[in-house]
């Protein structure tokens, strides 16, 4: 489980940037490629913006009527033969899993990706009780072997080069350390995982969506690993956050169209699987888990973060995330969505995260369910400042910046003055690694002689003269 020490995201991002000349540019490039593919995929759908609006409204409708949809889901899933459990928090969630496994004498489980199970620290909990837990998603398995959490919610090992993976697999599953071909490495892991699927006493999954109308839930993967876990071992345990609900089956027509296009720019995941009660000859256990979600539902400025469908688009587009790597955030959720989710778990520990953003607003623009992510980041800064979580020096600096961004006229005069001001800022402050770990790898911003606004006003005035 995570400890309570405050996460120094800037220092950890600096370490990612500074490690070599390879990792950060590769990370930046691969995630930006995903963002560009997302744009191309979105352009192919004429009603894309309408879909975002509909998805947002369906989620807001569901969350403002969550009580009725949860009980409807429970009733229908139960009548289909699933066993439904409720967990108030991570500890209860993990206890339910442990109870199910213990009752059936199961000592090994194969799991597919679940951010909720990550959030609950489930793997460590089970391992401490003698259960062998194997991640089956390739990226998650890479991270598990390296004893690291996922760095991205869709591409867990995107911060690693193929050389990193070749070294890791050589140490753990006996591959040739010199062979860095992803086809070779994927094949090696396929063969290693296959025997684990066959030995496992239970398969565990998360869920992307849960459907109240039928008591079904949907799991999306590209590898088919969730489906092997659900179809081969006799027991299937699914961990579902209570915010995953959708009212109707037909809602999936909207959400499935948005999810993978937003995530990776693909039309859908290779597998979109619908579980409605246990399969023939199998058992299905569903753990509906709160773990802070009901509390978030009651936060007037932050409840809409519960709309999140975990696509990762906000991470791919974020200029700060792309250069920091996801591990820098020191939390289950990284990137822009992490900044607004993580403090709901622990305000003090994650009090620096809201400052790890340029507030450029790109996250809000790409979010398929229209969460106002950048606005919420700013709101969290206000919370952190009001509660005095930051060291005094940063509080002062960010307090000033915050005021300027909130007041456009102040920003304009600050912008005009900045080129002058920066000239007099001692290099000691800008390049001191402790005070500003980013400075070392960054050029001083070059301020144009004329700001964009000055240029724009001149341009407009000129054009008005010419009567255009």
């Amino acid at each position: 489980m995570e400890d309570d020490k405050k996460v120094d995201v800037a220092a950890q991002a600096a370490a990612f940037l500074a490690q070599d000349e390879v990792h950060e540019p590769m990370h930046d490039k691969n995630l930006w490629a995903a963002r560009m593919k997302r744009d191309a995929a979105a352009r192919e759908v004429p009603e894309w913006e309408t879909l975002r609006q509909l998805a947002s409204q369906i989620k807001e409708h569901t969350l403002t009527h969550l009580l009725q949809y949860l009980t409807e889901f429970e009733k229908n899933a139960t009548s289909r033969g699933a066993k439904v459990y409720w967990a108030r928090d991570a500890a209860e969630h993990n206890q339910h899993v442990w109870d199910i496994l213990r009752e059936k004498n199961i000592s090994s489980v194969i799991k597919s990706k679940s951010m909720l199970q990550e959030e609950c620290g489930m793997t460590a909990f089970l391992e401490n009780r003698g259960i062998t837990v194997t991640e089956s998603d390739l990226g998650e398995r890479i991270q598990q072997l390296d004893d690291q959490p996922p760095s991205h919610i869709v591409m867990p090992a995107i911060h690693k080069t193929r050389e990193d993976v070749a070294q890791l697999f050589a140490r753990n599953i006996g591959t040739d350390p010199a062979n860095t071909d992803p086809h070779y490495l994927t094949e090696a892991m396929r063969n290693d995982a296959r025997k684990r699927f066959l030995e496992a006493g239970a398969g565990m999954t998360g869920a992307n969506f849960a459907i109240a109308e039928t008591g079904s839930f949907v799991v999306c993967t590209n590898e088919g690993n969730a489906d092997i876990g659900a179809s081969v071992p006799p027991v299937h345990i699914a961990s579902i956050g209570i915010e995953k609900l959708l009212p109707k089956v037909k809602d999936l027509g909207i959400f499935i169209r948005l999810l993978s296009r937003s995530a990776l720019g693909t039309l859908a995941t290779q597998y979109t699987s619908h579980f409605s009660g246990p399969r023939k000859g199998g058992e299905l256990h569903i753990i509906l888990t709160d773990n802070g979600r009901s509390k978030r539902l009651g936060m007037p400025e932050f409840w809409t973060s519960l709309k999140c469908i975990r696509c990762g688009a906000c991470m791919n587009t974020c200029p700060v995330y792309r250069r920091s790597g996801g591990l820098a955030y020191g939390a289950t959720y990284s990137g822009p969505i992490g900044i607004i989710l993580d403090p709901t778990f622990d305000e003090s520990k994650y009090s620096e995260l809201p400052y790890h953003s340029s507030l450029c607003g790109s996250c809000t623009e790409v979010c398929p369910v229209k969460i106002n992510i950048s606005d919420q980041i700013l709101q969290w800064r206000k919370v952190m400042a009001a509660k005095k979580y930051l060291p005094a020096a940063r509080r002062l600096a960010f307090g000033t910046a915050g005021k300027i961004f909130e007041h456009p006229q102040l920003f304009r005069s600050a912008e005009t003055m900045a080129s002058g001001a920066l000239k007099f800022t001692p290099n000691f402050l800008l390049y001191n690694r402790v005070l500003n770990p980013w400075g070392r790898h960054r050029e001083l911003p070059h301020f144009a002689g004329q700001t964009f606004r000055e240029w724009y006003l001149q341009y407009k005035a000129k054009n008005n003269e010419h009567g255009t």
Partner: protein, 196 residues
Amino acid sequence: MEHNSRSQVLAAVERQMPTHKIAYPEIPDFPRTAADLLAAFEDRVKDAGGEVFHLADAAAAQALLVSQYADAGIICSATPEITGDRDIHAVKNPHELADVAVGVIRARFGVAENGMVWLTEEDLVVNALGFLSQHLVILLSPQAIVGDMYDAYLRVHLEDTAYGCFMMGPSATADIGAVLVHGAQGARSLRVYLLP
């Protein structure tokens, strides 16, 4: 504890739900874009890493299967049209399918928008056939193509099946160096046999 947790979660949700209720939106009827559904479906299957073959009848399909998988190993068919080496209806435990080289399944319908095929527990007979098989051959009627996901979800009938999967090509991953590789955990390849 069990019942206590349930009532506490539900009570917390009830207490915390925003008082301003948002209405369920009116879903418009979006214009259908693809004119030739079958052609679009075929293109999308190929984009997803699959292949498509047109067959006149079951005998032609069986002949193609034999030629394509002559040395592949065990073939297990869940369809009456194709004969394999292993009787899926005699399988008691999914582990018995661990050595299957080629699984043959008939899909209910395909989706032109993305090249997905819809497979249910009834079509798979044993769900693991769709995921332990090294390669898949999917039989599909060329008339059974819907335009997009809206139409697709009108045809899935989740109330009638414990398991249903939209499968879009073979298993894939790009988790190592963002390079696309097929055959991560599920099928290494997927071929669609269009068969009336």
